[in-house]
Symmetry: C2
Subunit: 760 residues, 2 copies
């Protein structure tokens, strides 16, 4: 009877053990997830729901809700990301103008909004209206003169410093993860890495607020990259509301991929470009279902942004342009030159920025992030104010550079000498000689170019949110506009040269300097990020015409080739390497001739692999092994002699299982035998009750033979998203290869420091 | 001395054997390729070239040429695909008009070209000019009247029959693979299947010629799908010129993916849509490098087509439209209704078409393909001629249905009653009551809809080139236009109804029937093909505005959901299944709870797996095994007792190696021992010389354990593109799973006939 009772009791305890552990399935911070396992867990969940749904109508409705939750999450992400982007746009507009003056009728109006309601202004003076007062007018009642200028200058710097100080303090105190562009980390997270809190609610809040502050402070940075981070935080937030996504790290990453698409979609107003950006640049695992959902999220976000209408022009896109003249074959030459410039700029920027960031990491400099931000902001503000092209916000600058000089354009860049004999049609203005304003503008633009190039290198990587797209595009747009005006003037003054004769008659509108600016922007952005298709598609969505794809593509390809010649890494990959994240890039091709046996641990001469045996170790043995090593898991073999592989046990689950058993299962003591077989081994009558752990054993561990070429192993790790892989030789276990081993080996083969890979 | 000589000789022979066999690496017809192996072969090749390139400048230049050959192939594909598409367009134009009449000034002019040069016509009569004569005018000098009508009718049918007969005969005699749309087969080929000749030069030539013939014959089919096939043939042709692609089936498929993108690009004038189509619908393995190259090929193709300018309007796109009014929220309801219609049409079409094709395959019907084509052509021509909407070519019909009724539109569909009090602005024409012409058109369109629905089911799948895009779009466009005109008239006559009151004041232009036609076309195309993102992007490129993405997406999503509710398969997958191709769809999710042990062969009760042992079988044993079985390869184990896996030997390579050894290696006779170990086994002194075959042994065969869930196995097969996978249990070999086994198991689980999977 006692025996039967014990049996019964132990049976219950066994049943208890067969229930899933509450914590199993979550990963530790800075660890890599196992994609295959996450996927099979999701299939199990799905199967359960499908089976249950046949039981009752309520369960059926629940299963429908579960099936639709993906779309609901996308809708919510789109709505929130669009709203946040709109709010950020409005706030940046207002605060940027606050540095120069204030609206008397309503202080929360930006300069433009303030003067909308003004009815006395003509079109030419549309940004001068009595309600809008510069600080000097308001404080000392002077709008012109040296003292007014100095007062405005001083207050401009003061506001900039205030904004920057607030931003860096908020980031330091509340959310250290809110700094940077976030894209390198998001790429790493999407590839299956865990960084707790990186996409948390605090990061979302602080990043949104500080993004407004830093962009308004006039620093040379953009809001596009951080917007992707913000959108991913939204994605993480909403996916935590649905158990389908919150409990499965693999499914969660599908949502995050879509959120990244929504982020780019609102950053540029380019939903298709956003989806392709997520596909080409950010995502790791991108099934077709995600493609479609990303598209949905990107569209919802874009339309939410449009209904908020922050630019006041009902346009989706950030820089809407419309050109009236086609481009000519001969113009490909300057376009390709711009591509070369973009590639060189990309290389220069990446090298200098990484060198500076490494310096920041390794020297004392990194200890004073607030001071650094203050100093850079002060220098930026002091140098930027006198030059009208650096004083205004970077996106306004780009917008002006992209624009074609229409008949109504009042910008200095459009100060051409008009032929009085010629009537002025609205659209088609012929090439004209440049006026004094254009020459002035050229000098100022050249200075702005040098300034932007230098300051951006020091700005990107500081402890504040900072995006790269806008500064890169600005550099390219300035260079492009200068080249464009140059070509235009050359064509005007020398229209009898052979290269111009065919397509540029006097009185014709043959060169569009705005197009050169756009091509230059694409080239520089491409050089820095090495984006290709998504870049061209974003630019295509900005202009809405297929006409200009060839110039854009020529520049983007040239820029990529030139930059790749100096180094394969884009800025994001460079920062991933700098930070030592375990990121297995899909684009890197592994072409070395090493075998799995060269990479696996234990190496020759090292102590043998720590393994568990299926039926001969005691609880104490296992506990000692766990204590003495820090591996994430242990292979289980038939016996130490035969070394034939049975399965793999996770460290986490082993610890939990033994702890649970020790607490609740009576017979289990230190010298109980731990067995992983289906049937318990025959134990002598007086020995303690054995501990059955087959439940936590992964019976299908991934194995390769020792002769497998490493390129195949790398491919398998990449495509299946493995965390580790066991190495066998004719059925015997030889060793183990983890993702970190693979990354270290790749670094070594590329003559880099293998110790730069820091996380598991 | 003799001994040493033998050793030496055998050493040479060994060296000879160490050279690669000439044929190794090619696959047999109707077999599946091994992606991993192809990839590692390419890496080897690449490594060799890189190493050589350091030796001399000539080798360096050769390595550069090799690196650039990918781009050269893309350029060539783009140029040829664009040219062929242009030639096809021009030829179809001319031959379609030839059915009705002929141009007297130059017989090779189409109706439109003929009347371009005519200077006496007003805009309204632009298609009536003296140079163009209907057959009745030319032959009996009558242009009106019953006898002229009958003569024209008769000649129309005669031409159609002639074209169709020519087409089907050409296909039957010269290139049987030229029939159908080709997309199901291309999907299968891209997934790693070999169909020799499917993309050959004859297929290219005959498909191009017969495509012109069948489209001109007025059958209810389109040229879009076959154009993808034609472009892939171009891709195959050019890749055979470069050894990098011709000798590697994996690399060749990258080129073919890009070629498919170029095909869609020229079919619709939508390069981005083409790339996404290739990515979403056609391709299997689509690395980022291919994305970028596809985009390049698609652009080159599109620009080549534009410079040929077959539509005479300098437009890239097939159906260029421009709408002048936005859409309103309330219109989403009819758009979603159109989506439901599209989904139902898709389901109906797929079911009926597959049933009919199965009937054709299994009954006598399939034996008379020429007769079938003749009969269907005759029926089509007889019914189509009296109705003006079916008489013209389908793409013209779609173009007219998409168009907004502008001020200059002379079509019957735009016969609205004008308010004489209202001035006519060019763009913004208010909603007006429909005139008698519109009502007539509605009846004719309704008849055309029924006719198209029925005839398309019987047309698709005949032994002629036949695409589905255009007929599907036509069905949707007709339905959409009917609904659109209905909504428009409802809004005009009842503008005081609540739903119309907010956005449709009298005198406003609120409903655009052309937009409904476009939405309907997208819905029907989506229902048949289940394309999503690429469909919306293609449509977006046709209109060039983001404004209409929401209606299009609403319709496409609804259509997909409705159609998916009745069956997950799109028409291409359905045809793949019908033909029993071994295609492992990325979209199918395998959610059953089976394990590898349930799928592997040998099953329980079957004779054990045919294996080779590493050092105990004679040449004769191996030859007997090869003769008695038809497996593609054999696992090699340590011994029959231990069954520990050493590697895998391909049947093809075994046969070749033994044949070679028997011919050239003296000591090898029937009872020589075959050994796969590194060192030869110790053989008794008087036994024959052993045969060393380690060279052909794959030392890294892919293995899974018997407990691996089948969903993981399916995932591995899909992602790594395996051909077979060995199953082990604690180091012992248990069985083998081939791609065919996986597909059969999946069919079985989905309650389909596993025998429908026919190829290896």
């Amino acid at each position: 009877m006692v025996n039967a009772g014990t049996m019964n009791g132990s049976g219950n305890l066994m049943d208890f053990l067969d229930e899933p552990f509450p914590d199993v399935g979550t990963y530790e911070d800075f660890h890599t997830i196992d994609w295959l396992r996450e996927k099979s867990r999701d299939t199990d969940r799905h199967r359960k729901i499908t089976n249950k749904s046949k039981e009752s109508i309520w369960e059926f409705i629940k299963s429908l809700l579960d099936a639709w939750s993906g779309w609901v999450v996308m809708l919510l992400i789109g709505l929130l990301a669009g709203t946040l982007a709109g709010v950020i746009d409005l706030a940046v507009d207002w605060m940027t103008d606050l540095k120069e003056g204030v609206c008397l009728s309503a202080f929360w109006y930006s300069h433009e909004q303030c003067c909308w309601t003004s009815n006395e202004t003509t079109f030419e003076d549309r940004d001068k209206c009595p309600q809008w007062q510069k600080w000097s007018e308001l404080l000392v009642n002077q709008s012109e003169g040296a003292s007014a200028y100095i007062l405005n200058y001083f207050l401009y710097i003061l506001w900039a410093l205030l904004f920057a100080f607030l931003a860096v303090s908020l980031v330091r105190v509340f959310a250290p993860y809110a700094c940077g562009s976030g894209i390198p980390e998001i790429k790493t997270i999407l590839s299956g890495f865990i960084i707790r809190g990186y996409l948390g609610k605090w990061t979302l809040l602080i990043k949104t607020v500080t993004l407004v502050l830093v962009v308004s402070s006039g620093l040379s940075l953009g809001k596009e990259g951080p917007l992707v981070h913000v959108a991913c935080c939204c994605g993480n937030f909403f996916s935590s509301l649905f158990s389908k996504y919150s409990k499965n790290e693999g499914k969660r990453r599908e949502v995050l991929s879509a959120a990244a698409a929504a982020g780019v979609s609102v950053a540029f107003g380019a939903p298709i470009g956003g989806v392709l950006f997520s596909l080409e640049e950010v995502s790791y695992y991108f099934p077709l279902k995600t493609l479609w959902r990303s598209f949905f999220a990107a569209l919802v976000a874009a339309f939410t942004l449009r209904s908020i209408n922050p630019f006041g022009n009902s346009r989706l896109v950030l820089f809407y342009v419309e050109y009236h003249t086609p481009w000519y074959m001969a113009e490909l030459f300057p376009f390709i030159l711009l591509g070369v410039f973009g590639g060189l700029w990309g290389t220069l920027f990446i090298r200098c920025n990484i060198a500076w960031c490494r310096r920041r990491k390794t020297t004392k400099l990194g200890k004073y992030p607030v001071l650094e931000v203050i100093v850079v902001t002060a220098i930026t503000a002091i140098i930027a104010y006198p030059n009208p092209y650096t004083r205004r916000s970077t996106s306004e600058l780009i917008s002006e550079l992209f624009n074609d000089c229409g008949a109504l354009e009042s910008s200095q860049l459009c100060d051409y000498i008009n032929d009085p004999n010629m009537t002025r049609p609205v659209d088609d203005i012929p090439d004209r000689p440049a006026g004094i304003g254009v020459y002035m503008a050229m000098w100022q633009l050249a200075l702005a170019l040098v300034f932007k190039i230098i300051i951006t290198i020091f700005t990107f990587g500081m402890k504040i949110p900072s995006g790269l797209f806008i500064p890169s595009m600005a550099v390219g747009a300035i260079a492009g506009r200068i080249v464009g005006i140059g070509v235009e003037q050359l064509a005007y003054h020398h229209h009898d040269w052979i290269i111009f004769r065919n397509w540029c008659r006097p009185g014709a509108d043959c060169v569009t300097p705005g197009l050169y600016a756009m091509v230059g922007a694409a080239a520089c952005l491409g050089g820095v990020t090495r984006m290709t298709v998504s870049l061209v598609v974003i630019m295509f969505e900005l202009t809405g015409g297929l006409e200009y794809i060839v110039p854009l593509m020529a520049a983007a390809v040239t820029s990529k080739w030139v930059a790749d010649a100096f180094g394969k890494e884009g800025i994001y990959e460079a920062h991933i390497h700098l930070n030592g994240y375990p990121f297995l890039d899909v684009k890197d091709e592994f072409t070395h001739r090493t075998l799995a046996t060269d990479v696996m641990r234990p190496r020759r001469g090292e102590p043998p692999l720590s393994v568990l045996t299926q039926d001969s170790m005691t609880v104490e043995d296992v506990e000692t092994l766990i204590k003495e090593t820090d591996y994430n898991g242990f292979p289980v073999v038939v016996s130490k002699d035969s070394e034939r592989l049975i399965g793999f046990a996770q460290r986490r689950e082993l610890i939990l299982a033994i702890k649970n058993a020790r607490q609740r299962q009576d017979g289990v003591v230190s010298n109980s035998i731990v067995y992983f077989t289906e049937e318990p081994p025959e134990v002598p009558a007086n020995s303690p009750y054995p501990l059955k752990l087959r439940r936590i054993l992964n019976l299908s561990p991934f194995t390769v033979t020792d002769h497998t070429p490493m390129e195949t192993v790398v491919d398998i790790f990449r495509k299946l998203g493995l965390r580790q892989c066991l190495v066998t030789h004719s059925g015997r276990l030889l060793g183990i290869i983890t993702k970190k081993d693979v990354l270290r080996h790749m670094a070594q083969m590329a003559n880099q420091d293998p110790e730069s890979i820091m996380f598991n």
